[in-house]
């Protein structure tokens, strides 16, 4: 058949373990990519999706090897091709857009050279023509002033720009097939939406086939015609994109979609228990058996085969897909969160400014910070006992900086941070007493880095208990077991080291450690970003449960607006270290009023092909907040005039209690909702 561009046949890839056993990363994969179509490959980390994409270029990572099967491109198998011949296909016929363009561009070579290299290899253009082509390509990916960009080194560009360069480089060879490995992961929401829109445009414009690999069903939903769902090295579901997202007939996909928080739904999604089996663990039955809600006895000992359902044009690997087929409509249930905040104020930030400016000698002597345009400025927030307040914004918005100051890791330049109305916490760690330290605990983004790899779980949790309460012996032990149970980990975890735990388990240990100090406030810094979607829901549910049990206050920082929607009572939107809007989550999400909130929420990708992101503003990267006027003036599409550039906008209050900082009158702001 001529309309098939890539054919994967019974592909198995694996590695040899230290014991000499063969461990499979990909198990007998077969699929076809048609001309002009975009196929999304989705799966959690470790599902083998990247390995599959790389194999489609005839590339197998060091340490892995092909056990069997073929990857056919134009009827020749890439996996046993000589490197000479592969060089002629890679970049010219099949091109790759990598996950992390910042890492994938060679640091010592200029952008222009790296694109030129692809042109030299894959076209017969003369030097003059190539120069022109480079500008054209950079233009096509919508980079400003291509001539100057070409002379830059990779590190001089922002993340979004680097990703665009990678796209330009891939397009240089005018490939027939583009492989995209998580191309927007790690980018800001707005940038992500813009890059995806660009990719969609290119797919239509050039008719290139695309294979889009991602863990993010939201991104996949926006680009793909067909979706392949992978689990534990196998294809478990393959079919038209819309059908899979609207009516998932494999239990794994079903659970996955249920566990993703949505912008339109307040409340916590259901979590999927357990985690994906590690490669090498041999199971006699279905690999999803442990986590499946639809399993039967036969699933335990018999592995289901991938079955093609003609009427649905879908392949599914499940004995019980019919049960799911009968469920007429896919519905997501969420547990509404209880707002158990009371009116008592627990933390108050007034006029807080934070600066990263280097202290000059004179300032060091007088122990002051002089910076007219600090990174974070004029932050006024009242935090009530028992509430969850979320700080949202793109990278560089100062949300983590504010957390650091509250934790005492960074001192404030001006302003007051007060705890419980009278205790001053504006100073940094050194000047705080042990009790001040105890009442505020942090949970970090990446538990791999925040847990000491040489300590057992017992030692990790024991530390705050010994430090703050002087517990020892029997009592200490009892407390540790108690805490472990609170985060749903058994007693036997005590003797384990972090490396013996999965990502979700590690984060639970980090949560237990934070609660060990019996804090009043817990600062959550992107606590779920390093976790897989199914695990994320479980951790969010756990945090909510613990909060209700202990009456703790959360300050929650996340770039994921849907997660924030799920867990927070109130939201504060930040841009360039200045507050734009503060208000109850329900109002902010239902009626985004500030122009920046509109931009931010509009760019969120939902795992639903019918909800398209709205791109309101350009995704320019501003390095510094503007000297005067509104912080958002550089990107705002609704500037009213000179006043935005000259004067800091006033706070305006809505009826529902939203505070918005904008020059546009509140009535008008509320009118233009989407």
């Amino acid at each position: 058949m001529s309309d098939i561009i890539q054919k994967v046949k019974n592909l198995s890839i694996g590695f040899k373990s230290k014991k000499g056993e063969e461990i499979l990363i990909l198990k007998n994969i077969s699929t076809k990519i048609k001309k002009g179509e975009t196929v999304g490959i989705v799966g959690e980390s470790g599902s083998g999706k990247s390995t599959l994409a790389l194999a489609m270029m005839g590339y197998v990572k060091h340490g892995l090897y092909t056990i069997g099967g073929e990857c056919e491109f134009n009827s020749s198998n890439l996996l046993n091709m000589k490197s000479k011949d592969l060089e002629k296909i890679r970049g010219r016929k099949i091109a790759m857009i990598p996950q992390n363009a910042g890492q994938a561009l060679t640091p010592n070579l200029k952008i222009g050279y790296q694109i030129d290299e692809a042109l030299q290899l894959h076209s017969d253009l003369s030097e003059k023509e190539r120069e022109k082509k480079i500008s054209e390509l950079l233009n096509k990916v919508r980079l400003p002033s291509p001539e100057t960009i070409a002379l830059r080194y990779p590190h001089e560009l922002s993340g979004g720009q680097q990703q665009r360069v990678a796209v330009a480089m891939a397009l240089a060879g005018t490939p027939d097939l583009l492989l995209l490995d998580e191309p927007t992961t790690g980018l800001d929401v707005t940038t992500q939406a813009h890059v995806l829109e660009l990719l969609n445009f290119i797919a239509k414009d050039t008719g290139t086939s695309m294979v889009y690999v991602s863990h993010d069903l939201g991104a996949i939903a926006q680009v793909s015609d067909r979706i392949i769902v992978m689990y534990s090295g196998e294809i478990v579901l393959e079919g038209p994109s819309r059908d899979i997202l609207k009516r998932p007939i494999h239990p794994y996909t079903h659970g996955l979609l249920k566990s993703i928080p949505k912008l339109s739904l307040a409340g916590l999604p259901e979590s999927m228990p357990g985690s994906q089996p590690q490669p090498g663990i041999i199971q006699s039955g279905c690999s999803f058996f442990d986590r499946c809600n639809f399993s039967e006895d036969k699933c335990k000992n018999n592995s289901p085969q991938l079955e093609f359902l003609k009427e649905l044009n879908t392949s599914v690997r499940c004995f019980n897909y019919e049960k799911l087929l009968k469920e007429s409509q896919f519905n997501q249930n969420v547990n509404k969160i209880k707002n158990n905040s009371n009116d008592k104020e627990i933390l108050n930030l007034s006029e807080v400014s934070i600066s990263y400016a280097k202290q000059k000698l004179l300032d060091q002597i007088f122990n002051r910070i002089s910076d007219d345009n600090p990174t974070v400025k004029d932050i006024n927030i009242n935090i009530k006992k028992g509430e969850t307040i979320a700080l949202v914004g793109e990278s560089g918005s100062g949300k983590s900086t504010i957390l650091k100051s509250i934790a005492g890791l960074l001192r404030t330049k001006d302003g007051l941070i007060r705890f419980d109305e009278n205790r001053n916490l504006s100073s940094d760690l050194k000047e705080r007493n042990p009790n001040d330290l105890r009442i505020i605990q942090l949970i970090f983004q990446n538990p791999d880095e925040s847990l000491n790899p040489n300590h057992t779980v017992e030692e990790i949790i024991a530390q705050p208990l010994k430090l703050y309460f002087g517990l020892k012996g029997e009592e200490l032990n009892k407390n540790i077991i108690d805490l472990l149970q609170k985060v749903r980990l058994g007693e036997f975890y005590m003797s384990r080291y972090p490396r013996q735990l999965s990502g979700g388990e590690k984060q639970r240990v980090a949560v237990a450690r934070a609660f060990a100090a019996k804090p009043d406030i817990i600062l959550c810094d992107e606590v779920t970003s390093a976790l897989d979607v199914s695990v994320q829901a479980a951790v969010l549910n756990l945090l909510q449960q613990l909060k209700e049990d202990f009456g703790t206050t959360y300050i929650f920082v996340s770039h994921d607006l849907a997660v924030v929607r799920a867990i927070s009572d109130r939201v504060a939107v930040l841009y360039q270290g200045r507050l734009c809007e503060v208000g109850p989550s329900n109002d902010v999400y239902k009626f985004p009023s500030h122009p920046y909130t509109e931009v931010l929420l509009g760019a969120v990708l939902e795992p639903d092909p019918d909800i398209k992101p709205k791109l309101v503003a350009e995704d320019i990267v501003e390095e510094k907040p503007p000297e005067k006027g509104c912080s958002f003036q550089g990107r705002c599409s609704r500037i009213v005039g000179d006043i935005c550039k000259k004067e800091i906008p006033p706070w305006q209050l809505t009826d529902s209690g939203n505070a918005i900082r904008c020059h546009i009158p509140i009535k008008e702001l509320q009118k233009e909702q989407f």
């Binding site: 790389l54 270029m57 590339y59 990572k61 060091h62 490197s83 592969l86 060089e87 002629k88 296909i89 890679r90 970049g91 010219r92 091109a95 790759m96 990598p98 996950q99 992390n100 890492q103 994938a104 561009l105 060679t106 640091p107 010592n108 070579l109 290299e117 692809a118 290899l121 894959h122 080194y153 590190h155 001089e156 990678a166 480089m169 060879g173």
Partner: protein, 318 residues
């Protein structure tokens, strides 16, 4: 950029000043002084007086430091007690000899180290890597006094191809020196090359595993072009500092090797001056060795700065 260079040079001078102070204070607080230590039991009467006069020890310490420092900057380190002549004249030929030995080792050792390192990395876990790595690890672990002694035994005594130890006057001409340095150079180069080859190997392997090299492969860049354009410039950057330290170590005198081969270089001078209790010479040597380390590291840092676009643009922007 210029500001940075000036800053680094100034810092270098401050380091040297501190080193000179420490050595000066060190020699001051040791019991006795240069003359009593040197003369030992003859340290009395007319002889001691003469010595004091010649070294100028009869003025206060700070004055002595200032005049010593002023002279040292002009290249005059005073008078060697054991050599019975100005230290300048003692040092001259020694520095020359050490330079000859070091440059020979550098010119032979560094290219070989680079090639071995790159070859082992590119053929990682294959036969060339296994063979070369075994040899380099072996060469690294044998201490130089053993390898040097073995070299003397086999090549000088059994085979009688080359002189075993260097019995030449200190100020011998270069051509006469040449056959004498072959064995010491082999002894030094073995250990140095092995170290550096391992370093280069791990650095190249690290870069080969990077995402940008994978990207280059997936872009269809031919293997050798990828190695030279994408791998080596990034892999060898961190090697510059290691090479610099090695050069400094070589110039500073490879004490053990020089002693084993009786080679008249700086390293042996250090040992001799210490055992002769010749404090002024020890002081002078400390300063010279410190300057070598400081200046070579400075050069290495500047080179890294020039070659690493990340650092370069960062500095220019500032």
């Amino acid at each position: 950029m210029l500001f940075l260079i000036i800053k680094r040079i100034l810092l270098g001078f401050i380091t040297l000043f501190i080193v000179s102070l420490i050595t000066f204070v060190g020699t001051e607080i040791l019991p006795g002084d240069a003359c009593t230590t040197y003369l030992e039991r003859q340290a009395f009467g007319e002889q001691l007086e003469a010595c004091y006069r010649r070294l100028g020890l009869n003025v206060p310490a700070y004055e002595r430091y200032v005049s010593w420092a002023v002279n040292a900057i002009q290249g005059d380190f005073g008078y060697s007690l054991s050599g019975e002549m100005p230290i300048k004249e003692v040092l001259g030929p020694r520095i020359k000899n050490s330079l000859v030995l070091a440059s020979a080792a550098i010119f032979i050792g560094i290219p070989i180290a680079l090639i071995l390192g790159i070859v082992t990395a590119l053929w990682r876990d294959k036969l060339p890597d296994v063979a070369i790595s075994t040899v380099t690890i072996f060469a690294m672990t044998i201490p130089e006094f053993i390898s040097a002694t073995l070299l003397i035994l086999i090549i000088a005594i059994w085979l009688e191809w080359l002189p075993g130890i260097v019995i030449v006057p200190t100020d011998v001409s270069f051509l006469e020196l040449l056959p004498n340095i072959i064995l010491p150079v082999i002894a030094i180069a073995m250990i140095m090359t092995a170290h550096m080859a391992r370093m280069v190997r791990s650095s190249v392997i690290q870069v080969m595993a990077s995402e940008y090299v994978q990207m280059a492969i997936l872009k269809g860049v031919p293997y050798w072009k990828m190695v030279f354009k994408h791998v080596l410039p990034n892999a060898l950057l961190p090697a510059i500092n290691v090479v610099a330290l090695t050069i400094a170590w070589l110039l500073g005198g490879v004490v053990v090797t020089e002693v084993v081969f009786n080679y008249p270089g700086l390293g042996r001078l250090v040992i001799e001056s210490i055992s002769n209790r010749d404090l002024p010479t020890v002081q002078a040597l400390a300063i010279i060795l410190a300057s070598i380390y400081v200046s070579i590291n400075l050069l290495a840092d500047l080179m890294t700065l020039m070659l690493n676009p990340r650092l370069k643009t960062l500095q220019i922007r500032k």
